[in-house]
C-alpha cells in the first residue's frame, strides 16, 4: 500500500461502542475511546436474528421501509472545522447525509432530521420507541457526535427496529473534521447492509469526466467526487482532453486517457503525488484502461497500423502481454471479480459484440447474440451480471448474465452508455447524452430498472467510474 494512501485510511477508524444499556447512565451514550480503532464494531452489537428480509432480488418490490433519522445530538457543543462549525450543527448534517444516501436507492422511505423532532443525547441509546411507533417509523437510525481534544470527531450510529423495540446494529467512527461525511456514509452503509442483506456501497468514490463548453469544442477534465456527489475536485485543467478514467482498487491512482501530447494515450495519475506516467511506452495510441480487481495489472487497448488489440501490463510498469490478435477492433475489457476471466468488446464478426476470454487471452468466445451491437461490457463486482451498452438505433444500458443470457434493458433513452457498477453490484451508473445539444450527465439506476436518477454534478459529466468501498 502506498504510504500516502495508508495515511489517508487511518483517518477514519471504526471504534467499538459500549453497550447502550439502561444499566448504564442513560444520559451518557458512552462511546469508547478511539484508541484501539480499526476493529470492526460489529462485535459490539448485532442481535442474533437474521434481520428483516432476505436478499433483495432483482425484481423485488420491497421498498418503502420507513426509517426515521433524527439529528445526531452532541454531548457538548464544541467548535469543529467540519460543516456546521460546531458539533451540534454537524449532528444535523450527519443525519442529512445519511438520509440522502438512504433515500436515493429505491429501497427505503427515510424521513430526515428536517422533518423530525430533535432527540436528547441520552435518547441515542435509549430510544423513545412509543413516540416512533406513533410516527409510523419502522426503523430508527440514531447517533451522536462528540468533539475530541485533537479536533477529531467521534460519531456513533445505532439502528433500531421500532416495532420490536430492539437494537439491530451499531458502529462508531473516529474521523478528522474534513472527513465527517465518511462517518455518515459508513453509518448509511451499516443501515443499508443490515436491512437489505447486501454489501455496503455509500462510502466510495467516483472518477468521471467533467464537461463544459459548446458541442463542437468541449472541454473535458478529469474529476473525482464522493458517491453522493460531495467533495468534488477537478484533477486536470482541461487544456488536454481527458476521457475514460478508472480508479485503481485502492484509490491511490487513476488510469485515464489524455490527448496531452496530441495523441490519445493512457496515463496513470498518482493521486498522492500528482505525478503521472504513461501506461506503456509503445508507439501506438492507447485507450480504454481497466484495472484488474487486485490492482496489479492494467488492461489497455492499443492501435497499431489501425488494428486495435487488448494488452495487459503490470500496474508498476514492465512488459506488456498482447491478449487478443484479431484483425478487428478488440477494445475495453473488464475482469471478473476473481480475476480469472475478461469480458471485452470486438467487431471481428462485423459489428461490435461482447466476448469473454480467460485472463491469459485464451478461449475467446462471443456471448452476445441479441441483434444490434453490444459494447462497453463491465463485469459486476458480484460476478453474476455483465452490464453493457446495447446499440440498436438508440444506445441503452442493459445487463445479462456472464453467458450472455437473460438480457434486460435498464434504461430507455436516446443515448445512454458506459455502465459502471456500484461496489456492491446493485446499482449501475452510466452517462446520458442529450440529442442535439450534446450535453452529458451521469445517471444511475438499480437492477430493477425503475429507480433511475441523475447525479448532481457541478458541470456536465460523462464516463463515470465507481470505485470500491473504502476500507
Amino acid at each position: 500500500m502506498k504510504p500516502a494512501f495508508a495515511a489517508y485510511l487511518t483517518t477514519l477508524a471504526l471504534v467499538a461502542l459500549a453497550a447502550p444499556l439502561a444499566a448504564q447512565q442513560a444520559s451518557k451514550p458512552a462511546p469508547a475511546a478511539a484508541a484501539s480503532a480499526a476493529v470492526p464494531a460489529s462485535a459490539a452489537a448485532a442481535p442474533a436474528d437474521e434481520g428483516l428480509t432476505g436478499s433483495v432480488t432483482d425484481d423485488s418490490d420491497w421498498q418503502d421501509l420507513g426509517i426515521a433519522i433524527p439529528t445526531f445530538p452532541t454531548n457538548e457543543m464544541l467548535p469543529t472545522a467540519a460543516d456546521g462549525g460546531n458539533t451540534e450543527a454537524l449532528g444535523r448534517n450527519l443525519a442529512r447525509v445519511i438520509y440522502g444516501d438512504l433515500k436515493n436507492n429505491g429501497l427505503f422511505k427515510p424521513v430526515g432530521p428536517d422533518a423530525l423532532p430533535a432527540i436528547g443525547y441520552g435518547e441515542v441509546t435509549a430510544p423513545a420507541f412509543p413516540n416512533w411507533r406513533a410516527r409510523s417509523a419502522e426503523m430508527l437510525v440514531q447517533g451522536f457526535v462528540k468533539g475530541g481534544a485533537d479536533g477529531r470527531l467521534t460519531v456513533g450510529c445505532y439502528l433500531y427496529d421500532v416495532a420490536l423495540g430492539t437494537e439491530l446494529a451499531r458502529q462508531g467512527y473516529v474521523v478528522k473534521p474534513e472527513e465527517w461525511r465518511r462517518a455518515a456514509h459508513k453509518c448509511a452503509d451499516m443501515v443499508y447492509a443490515r436491512l437489505s442483506g447486501e454489501s455496503p456501497f455509500f462510502d466510495s468514490k467516483i472518477a468521471y469526466i467533467a464537461e463544459t463548453g459548446p458541442k463542437g469544442n468541449r472541454r473535458k477534465q478529469l474529476a473525482i467526487m464522493d458517491s453522493d456527489g460531495a467533495n468534488h475536485r477537478f484533477i486536470t485543467n482541461g487544456q488536454a482532453t481527458a476521457l475514460t478514467p478508472r480508479y485503481s482498487p485502492d484509490y491511490a491512482k487513476i488510469a485515464y486517457l489524455s490527448f496531452l501530447n496530441g495523441t490519445p494515450r493512457i496515463y496513470v495519475y498518482d493521486i498522492g503525488t500528482g505525478r503521472q506516467t504513461l501506461v506503456t511506452e509503445g508507439k501506438g495510441p492507447t485507450f480504454a484502461p481497466r484495472w484488474s480487481p487486485d490492482g496489479k495489472f492494467i488492461l489497455y487497448s492499443m492501435a497499431i497500423a489501425g488494428n486495435t488489440d487488448i494488452y495487459r501490463v503490470p500496474a508498476t510498469g514492465g512488459a506488456s502481454v498482447k491478449l487478443t490478435d484479431s484483425p478487428g477492433i478488440d477494445v475495453g475489457g473488464s475482469y471478473s471479480p476473481d480475476g480469472s476471466k475478461i469480458v471485452f468488446e470486438s467487431d471481428r464478426s462485423g459489428s461490435q459484440q461482447v466476448y469473454v476470454m480467460n485472463a491469459d487471452g485464451t478461449n475467446q468466445k462471443r456471448i452476445t447474440f441479441f441483434g444490434g451491437r453490444s459494447a462497453t461490457p463491465e463485469w459486476s463486482p458480484r460476478g453474476d451480471q455483465i452490464a453493457f451498452t446495447h446499440i440498436a438505433g438508440n444506445l441503452r444500458i442493459a445487463v445479462m448474465n456472464p453467458s450472455g443470457g437473460e438480457m434486460r434493458y435498464l434504461t430507455d433513452s436516446w443515448q445512454d452508455e458506459a455502465p459502471t457498477w456500484s461496489p456492491n453490484g446493485r446499482i449501475v451508473q452510466f452517462f446520458r447524452t442529450a440529442k442535439t445539444s450534446g450535453k452529458t450527465s451521469i445517471w444511475q439506476v438499480d437492477l430493477t430498472g425503475r429507480n433511475e436518477r441523475k447525479l448532481n454534478t457541478p458541470v456536465d459529466a460523462s464516463d463515470p467510474a465507481w470505485g470500491p468501498v473504502l476500507p
Binding site: G216, K220, P285, A288, A303, L395, D463
Partner: protein
C-alpha cells in the same frame, strides 16, 4: 446510403474524372455520387504558378487546399473502406505530396456521436490508417504520414441527424508546416 459531400475546394470535372479512372478497381457496392455537372464547382484549373506573388505559397497549407479535391474523405456508419470517391480525393492529395517531397501530413480520424467512446477511438484510428495506407499505396512514404484518432470528440457538424453524422464520419488530412 449517404451522399458524400466534398467539403473543400472542388476541382474541375476533368481532374475528378481522371481520378476516378485511376480508381477503377473499386470493389464496394457503394452508390457513386453524380458526376459534377457544369458550374456547380467553380474553381480554377490553373495550378498556381510557382512565382506568382498573389497565389498561395507553394507547399503551404493554403496551396494544399487549393490544389486537392478535398482534405476530407467520408465514411459510412462503422465503415472504414476507401471508396472510389475517397480514392479520387486521396489521389489528388498524393499528387500534391509528390510535388512537395518535404511536406508531411497528419490524418485525423473521426466518428459520429452515435457510438461508444472507446470503440470510436479505435474506429477513428482505423479510418485514418485506411487513408494513410491508400496514400502509401500511391507511393507516398509512410514516414511522412502520421495519424491521430479523435473518436467522436471533435464533431464538425453539430446536429443530431443523419446529415450531420455523415459529415462527422471522416478522415481529414492536415499538412504540417
Amino acid at each position: 446510403m449517404t451522399r458524400k459531400i466534398i467539403t473543400s475546394k472542388v476541382l474541375t470535372g476533368l481532374l475528378l474524372t481522371s481520378g476516378l479512372a485511376l480508381a477503377g478497381c473499386a470493389t464496394k457496392p457503394k452508390e457513386l455520387p453524380p458526376q459534377p455537372t457544369g458550374a456547380t464547382g467553380t474553381t480554377t484549373t490553373n495550378p498556381p504558378p510557382v512565382s506568382q506573388p498573389m497565389g498561395p505559397v507553394p507547399g503551404s497549407r493554403a496551396d494544399f487546399m487549393a490544389s486537392v479535391l478535398g482534405d476530407t474523405i467520408l465514411f459510412d456508419t462503422d465503415r472504414y473502406n476507401i471508396d472510389s470517391e475517397d480514392q479520387g480525393i486521396l489521389q489528388s492529395q498524393a499528387q500534391w505530396l509528390a510535388r512537395y517531397p518535404a511536406a508531411r501530413i497528419t490524418i485525423e480520424g473521426h466518428c459520429d456521436e452515435r457510438g461508444t467512446r472507446d470503440y470510436n477511438l479505435a474506429l477513428g484510428e482505423r479510418r485514418a490508417n485506411a487513408a494513410k495506407n491508400y496514400l502509401v499505396s500511391l507511393g507516398i512514404d509512410a514516414s511522412r504520414i502520421t495519424t491521430v484518432s479523435y473518436g467522436k470528440e471533435r464533431p464538425i457538424a453539430l446536429g443530431s441527424d443523419e446529415a450531420s453524422w455523415a459529415k462527422n464520419r471522416r478522415a481529414v488530412t492536415i499538412t504540417l508546416q
